[in-house]
């Protein structure tokens, strides 16, 4: 039990309430889209169809890589990245650094080859500055959800900074919540008292908050790290410790670049390196290969491994490119493994919940929705207590509009994606349709009183219609997804949408039958 004076408690309640309410609607949007974005990869597979969803780079990549590398201009040999894209094809990215005339800054310029594993033919070839590269058309929908979560679809770095501030507010609300809830452990089984509007709302918020506090802090902290690490963290650290010289900071952390021996020399077999890396991790597969200074004596190879059972992040191994000598495990930060590097390494998996496949992602989706629930009930409670003031009464209504309007707008963007994918430009239409839907919802709610039931039915109809539209616009059929591609992701998302839609459409009947059941007396033993 935390004992606080009355004035301190009052102050903390004010911090708790204001931090959760001011910009609270945006915080809700970030949390909700974050919960959905946990399944970014799965949404991508579901929406584009025709994918193999295979992961890992097999052992026989060496011949295929060399065959295509010899056709690329040597200036792009500075950095080469090998991975698989969302469609299961290999992606060879040959990169160099050049001044972009458009921005007058040094940027990454690349040639990106997409290669079909079966036919070994080039599916697509792209060349240019990476900053000018549009995402794959098939990834548009999932990328859009991620983009709203990460930066509210605002330009860089303003979006990142705004979302970082929202994360800080969430942390402030969570920490002040711990302090003001005097009986934190006891309130874990707090009874939600029925039929008393205010008390019931407070119970619901307190209960969800009590259970969710550890993860609220964890998710907020890791999110704030991602928002501020590059936008503020690096410049501030450089300013404080290196007189504003960011290059000096990077060299201090990553090590000073040594003088490179650019004598031509053949790279050792990638197949051997992959085999060696797999042996070192008891069978984890390779997710990513990075080659620096290909075909020179200075060549080095970095191999990223998938996460093995029980761990949160995968290993990264280093090799000398020519002698294929193992140079050790590469820390994410610095030159030698350290606690700081390990902590940095677990931030991403703990925020994305991607460390154990569907199981961890499902749990993280639940946590995200629980956080969204806490945020929404907190705002509703705060505004309900002040409903005698017109401004809070109006704000109370708009909380409901955002709670129900956001899923509707997200589904409209999914509809726009499927309708424009075959012929149009989903990259433009997906965000545009989201904005149009949001404006229509806002306009409708300005003209007419908010009707929760209408929104529920609309969401239900749209959820049921989405799998049908996906199928009608040439999406992968259920039989195809199982028989030829061996994946249940497409069926699982379709089924979840259909179930969600049916529940929302039959909500009144479910509620009615639940009430009738509750009212009936217990049968005699």
């Amino acid at each position: 039990m935390i004992s606080l004076s009355q004035s301190k408690t009052k102050r903390l309640v004010a911090i708790h309430g204001w931090s959760g309410t001011v910009l609270g609607l945006l915080l809700y949007v970030v949390i909700f889209t974050g919960a959905v974005a946990v399944f970014e990869r799965e949404i991508s597979v579901w929406s584009q169809g025709g994918t193999q969803y295979s992961e890992g780079i097999g052992r026989k990549i060496d011949r295929l890589f060399r065959q295509h590398a010899k056709e690329i201009d040597r200036k792009y040999y500075e950095e080469i990245f090998i991975a698989r894209n969302r469609s299961g094809d290999f992606r060879f990215s040959f990169q160099t650094h050049e001044k972009n005339p458009a921005t007058d800054t040094l940027e990454d310029k690349a040639v990106i080859l997409t290669i079909d594993e079966e036919t070994e033919q080039v599916v697509s070839r792209w060349e240019g500055f990476l900053s000018e590269r549009a995402p794959d058309r098939g990834d548009t929908l999932s990328r859009f959800f991620v983009d709203i979560h990460v930066q509210l679809h605002l330009p860089n770095p303003y979006g990142l900074i705004l979302v970082g501030i929202l994360g800080l507010m969430m942390m402030a609300a969570a920490i002040s919540g711990i302090l003001i809830h005097r009986h934190l452990i006891k309130e874990m089984f707090l009874p939600v008292r029925p039929r008393k509007s205010m008390v019931s709302a407070r119970d619901l918020h307190n209960l969800a908050g009590t259970w969710g506090i550890p993860f609220a802090i964890l998710l907020a902290f890791t999110g704030v790290f991602f928002s501020f690490a590059t936008t503020l963290g690096v410049p501030i650290m450089a300013m404080v410790a290196f007189g504003g010289d960011q290059q000096a900071l990077i060299e201090s952390v990553q090590g000073t670049a040594k003088v490179l021996d650019k004598t031509p020399a053949s790279l050792a077999s990638l197949d051997y390196i992959i085999k060696d890396a797999i042996n070192r991790t008891e069978g984890a597969y390779v997710t990513f290969i990075g080659i620096q200074h290909y075909d020179t004596m200075a060549a080095t190879v970095r191999v990223n491994m998938a996460t093995i059972d029980g761990q949160l992040s995968g290993n990264v191994f280093g090799y000398e490119g020519v002698s294929r000598e193992f140079t050790g495990e590469k820390p994410l930060l610095g030159q030698v493994p350290s606690l700081g590097s390990s902590l940095i390494g677990i931030i991403a998996p703990l925020h994305f919940g991607s460390f154990a496949g569907i199981a961890s992602k499902t749990v993280w989706l639940g946590l995200g929705l629980a956080m969204a629930f806490v945020s929404a009930t907190g705002m509703l409670l705060w505004t309900k207590r002040r409903e005698d003031q017109a401004i809070w009464r109006e704000f109370h209504k708009w909380i409901y509009v955002v709670i129900w309007g956001l899923p509707v707008a997200m589904m409209v963007s999914a509809y726009a994606f499927f309708l424009t994918l075959p012929a149009g430009d989903p990259g433009w239409w997906v965000p545009a349709s989201f904005v149009i839907a949001s404006l229509v919802i806002i306009g409708a709610c300005l003209m007419k009183p908010f009707q929760e039931d209408a929104f529920r039915r609309l969401t239900g109809i749209m959820a049921v219609g989405l799998p049908l539209l996906r199928h009608l616009t040439g999406g992968t059929s259920w039989s195809e997804s199982i028989l030829t591609q061996g994946q249940g992701v497409i069926i699982a998302i379709d089924v979840v949408l259909l179930a969600l839609g049916l529940i929302l459409l039959c909500w009144k009947q479910i509620k009615q039958s639940s009430r009738t059941m509750s009212a009936q007396p217990e049968p005699a033993e």
Partner: protein
Amino acid sequence: MVLLYTILSICGICYLAVTNPKRRRAFDLAVLSERRWIWPARLSVIVPFLFLVFTANWSGLSIWAGAVTVLGWIVAATSPHQISAIKRVVARIVLEATARSSAAISNVLNNENAISGKLSLLASKQDLSKAKKKIRQLEGKIAKLEKKISEFEIDGKHAEVDDGPSLKIVKN
């Protein structure tokens, strides 16, 4: 294994929620007279946590902690009335399903009886036709024998006729 730990912990949380005196009072339920086993229930949460920590199963620990958080919240947020309503809905579904399946089974059984009845009728019909055939054969033999007897009677002779091992007619 993580799934088992999660189930174990949720069972403990369910027990703590169901037997919580404050909740029981708030929901107008009778205060439990028997002893409340708080520590075994608490251990169902503590032991998996410690085990996952000591085995350094960090991904398992994260999944377990996340799942216990979400499911524990759902358990705590569900009132006994809602639970009883859910139980009744489930019971009704199970009863309806049982009734429907038993009706379906009895239909199948009735059909089976009907089929077996038809089969036995068919079999008896076949037996009857066999018997008739046999009777006809026997009648034919009897007619032959009677004909032979009448011939003997016409000739006025006494004869001994052996008509197979089972039928022996001696005429004087």
